[in-house]
Amino acid sequence: MFDWLANPNRFNRITEKIQPCILFITIITLISGLYFGLFDSPKDYQQGDAVRIMYVHVPSAWLASFLYFSLAISCVFYLVWKHPLADLVSSSIAPIGALFSVLTLVTGSLWGKPMWGTWWVWDARLTSMLVLFFFYLGYILLSNAFERKIDGSKTASVLAIVGLINLPIVKFSVDWWHTLHQPASIIKIGGPSIDDKMLLPLILMIFALSFFSLYMIILNVKTKLIEKKCEALLLKSNLEEISKTG
């Protein structure tokens, strides 16, 4: 299936058709999710209106981790089957994933101020999200650190896969560290008993942000494809000029 999609022209043709659908779903779910989240859902009995931050915070946290997973998977495709498109996909995912992890940290911090009284708590989940952000950052920095683009892509792909092995260990060790240092002083957010009226906007927002990032990734990949085409054309015209004069 991926073999079939790896042809850039075919990719362009297919995404041409599905891109408007994705945009449509994004807009519909985003508007309805925001409406249900901001106006038509109950206040939390403890947290009041501040609980509405959850409708952005939880989906972006989920997406930050999911996008890292897909980044590493597409890096595997790039290293094993050497599809150039897979590299474009992973380098398009990286900034979006990094953005979502920053968004998670920022919204978490905004949520933390009224709930915990400080902007930042060294909570296990916050800490591992911070580490996830640095994995994204490392990938982006390393892929731009070489003179030839292809060296950067290969090396950074290895880093992404090492990160995929390491992230569960980091997550586990940070949880472990947290239980060692602090007793559970923080209110467990959400929990198993979540109201149906709160679950609906949450699910809608998860869909909205997932489709939004899918749309952005496709857009990114297409831009990079055009960039590559321009480079090739420039090279070709330069060569022709040289052959004419020489």
Binding site: L142, F146, V158, S173, W176
Partner: protein, 229 residues
């Protein structure tokens, strides 16, 4: 049998080579230790000379000093061999690159750990570390140092030929090292509050074993990419 013994010979010869290069001058031996002493001094200056405070955080300071002292020297472990062409020779030789890298990381571990073990009494005095902590601290440095050098080889291979590799390396390495520092500090922390340190120790050993298996393969793969440029 002969294959096994030849492997061991290769192993020993590589470790010998690394020792020859790294212990050639006294400066190389003392640089890591003196750097660590300076980091510890900076920490104490930043926190203030209060004994109760220092007793609480001395383990953490010691580990941060250890990690920060190791990282700058990591960069040149493979860079030097890459620049003078030794790696090209090593890759064409019949010895598997993975074995070479495993022995390289073990040699690096010994090179870092021996000066630290010699200067450990100094740190115990400087940081007022409790005497009952010392055996656990020793074990945690030994095991943790091994996994840091195994991860360090990966980092060193990642930044081979990269622009500004010396700045990039800490950014890539420190997130990978976080679990080690958590378990390593956890060992002495558990002893300090009179709990069993064995959980942390076993996790640290397990983590080190995982990296012992995967690190040579990953770094060999990266070196093949770097050589093929």
């Amino acid at each position: 049998m002969s294959l096994q013994s030849s492997f061991i010979q290769i192993f020993i010869s590589h470790i010998k080579r690394e020792f020859l290069i790294n212990f050639r001058s006294l400066v190389d031996v003392t640089s890591i230790t003196s750097f660590m002493i300076l980091i510890v001094t900076l920490f104490v200056l930043g926190i203030g000379p209060f004994e109760e405070k220092l007793r609480l955080i001395s383990n953490g300071i010691f580990w941060i000093g250890l990690i920060l002292a190791i990282i700058p020297s990591l960069e040149k472990t493979l860079q030097r061999d890459y620049e003078n062409g030794w790696l090209d020779q090593a890759i064409t030789s019949p010895t598997p690159m993975e074995l070479v890298l495993l022995s390289k990381s073990l040699a690096y571990w010994l090179i870092v750990i021996i000066p630290l073990l010699i200067s450990l009494p100094l740190f115990i005095i400087l940081l007022n570390i409790n005497l009952k902590l010392i055996p656990w601290l020793l074990i945690s440095i030994l095991v943790g140092g091994l996994s840091i050098s195994l991860i360090g080889i990966i980092g060193s291979a990642l930044t081979l030929g990269a622009k500004r590799g010396n700045i990039l390396l800490p950014i890539l390495i420190i997130p990978l090292i976080i679990p080690i520092s958590i378990f390593g500090i956890g060992i002495s922390e558990a002893v300090r509050i009179n709990e069993t340190p064995l959980d942390n120790l076993f996790l640290l050993i397990g983590f080190t074993l995982i990296y012992m298996v995967i690190s040579p393969f990953i770094s060999a793969f990266l070196i093949r990419i770097a050589i093929s440029r």
